[in-house]
Amino acid sequence: MIEIKELTKRFGKKSVVENVSVTIEPGTITSFIGPNGAGKSTLLSMVSRLLDADTGDVLLDQNNVKKWKSGEFAKRVSILKQSNYTNVRLSVRELISFGRYPYSKGRLTAEDDKFVDQAIEYMNLEDMQNEFIDELSGGQRQRAFIAMVIAQDTDYVLLDEPLNNLDMKHSVQIMKILRKLVDDLGKTVVIVLHDINFASVYSDRIVALKDGKLVKNGPTQDIINSKALREIYDMDIPVQVQNGCRICVYFNSHA
């Protein structure tokens, strides 16, 4: 279980995240939503130790994440940020194999290869596994990096706007894969999403931030309604039910 306790981060005088406390329920998809600059990515970075908090703690299994050894932490929690640029000559398969580094330290065993194959299959990358990542489109590269995180086989998978650069088909494909990771393999996924409808359709819980403060935290059905969305986004957003999914129709609403 990951517990976020009274976390605060300031850049200069501005608090980007202010006194946020959230518990991430195991075996769920939790979406972080909120307007631009709400502090979603910063919060995710602090949970994954990429960024140090000014005050407050993050606990993984009752132990402060700062006390975890880097190598052990990498076997429990993985994080993928938005921009993944590298000028290294690397094939898709080699990139995904890096996901096994916490276990094998670069010397792949047969078991590691099995995880890599599985991740490639999950992300439908069989055809391009021998292509070089600097020759792929942004979306294809994004999928390769997600496959790396899947091969890392951690209990917690943290993703910062993984749907960036992806078309509708691949966005849906990735959200379905995340759902499968949770439902079939018992993983816990925490994801920063910009598209509220993906959050509504695929997540179990939603954490809403605004100006660095926690405004809503609860099961998806409690958040996806016009009243709660008004508080988060300052917009009147009608919610319609289509095929059992709650869809926010915000495209022509008044701000």
């Binding site: 880097s70 990498a74 640029y85 290294v88 580094y101 070089f132 890392q152």
Partner: protein
């Protein structure tokens, strides 16, 4: 595409041919006189080639930039400052010049201390200091360069001539006793390097991905900066400033060997720089008959290659 092992063997054969050619070509008169001297030069070229390639490749990995060399941190300038100060205050007949150990030691220690102080200061005040480090390094480098020029203007012209030979990279007056020390330092660097090769591969994915995979990134950056400063300091104190070479050979290695593995890249870059140094020195000694120095040729060819790289990078990032 050829396999990397074949390419490495090809490079190694080329390097050995170059070394043999340089060692035995036109060796008339006193074999006993010429041969040991040539061997010392070859030793110096091998040591320098490896040190420069090694430090440049790892430096480019942590900066995620392929047109930088460790010299942008001002280490070369620091070397010039030390030598100039020695000649300015103590003179060419002082023990600081005549005792090679003392001169070598002073230069290496000054450069490494300079680097350590810079890193200490930056890593304490800043979280991700690479770019700040580069900027400050460049500014301090320029400042030291101006200081050197100022002192050189004031120095006695005869002393200045003697100083000048130390400020140009040269293999012709390498001291064999310093060569052994350099080999020792290189050996220690390699033992450390052997343990971090895998981590370096992961670090080429960038800070966040490397941290995700369990690398203690910020501490590794510090360690690698120290490693590459020690290597640069050693090679500079041994033969003079020649870090531009690192930029060329590292990039040639990336192009020639399409791999992300640092063990292969560093080996390849080292072999290429040995070929370049031995071949270049052969060219300078036997074809140009010492009418110019190796560093002039390296800077000339390196400069052209650098412009090519800049053009290529600007195309690929557009």
């Amino acid at each position: 595409m050829q396999k990397n092992s074949t390419k490495l063997i090809f490079l190694a054969v080329l390097a050995i041919i170059g070394i043999l050619l340089y060692a035995f070509y036109d060796i008339k008169g006193g074999f006993d006189y010429a041969f040991p001297r040539r061997m010392v030069r070859i030793g110096a070229m091998v040591v320098t080639g490896i040190a420069i390639s090694y430090s440049t490749v790892v430096f480019q990995t942590i900066t995620q930039n392929r047109i930088l060399t460790p010299s942008v941190m001002g280490l070369d300038s620091m070397y010039e400052v030390v030598q100039t100060l020695i000649y300015f205050f103590a003179g060419s007949m002082s023990i600081w010049v005549l005792n090679h150990y003392l001169n070598f030691g002073a230069a290496v220690i000054a450069m490494v201390l300079f680097a350590l102080i810079l890193y200490r200061f930056l890593f304490r005040t800043n979280k991700h200091p690479i770019y700040l480090l580069l900027l400050i390094g460049m500014i301090i480098g320029t400042l030291l360069g101006s200081l050197v020029t100022f002192l050189q203007v004031l120095i006695d012209p005869v002393e200045y001539l003697s100083l000048q030979t130390r400020l140009f990279a040269s293999f012709t007056n390498v001291k064999s006793e310093l060569l052994y020390i350099s080999i020792g330092i290189l050996f220690i660097a390699f033992i450390y390097g052997y343990r971090i090769m895998g981590k370096l591969d992961v670090m080429s994915l960038g800070r966040e991905n490397a941290m995700n995979l369990g690398i203690n990134y910020d501490r590794m950056v510090m360690n690698i900066l120290i490693l590459s400063s020690v290597l640069i300091a050693t090679s500079t104190a041994l033969i003079g400033p020649i870090t531009f070479l690192g930029l060329i050979v590292a990039n040639l290695a990336y192009q020639f060997l399409s791999t992300y593995k640092h063990s292969i890249l560093i080996l390849g870059a080292s072999l290429i720089s040995i070929i370049a140094l031995v071949g270049g020195q052969f060219f300078v000694e036997h074809i140009l008959e010492l009418r110019t120095t190796l560093s002039v040729i390296i800077n000339f060819i390196g400069g052209i290659y650098f412009i090519y790289l800049l053009l290529k990078e600007s195309r690929s990032t557009r």
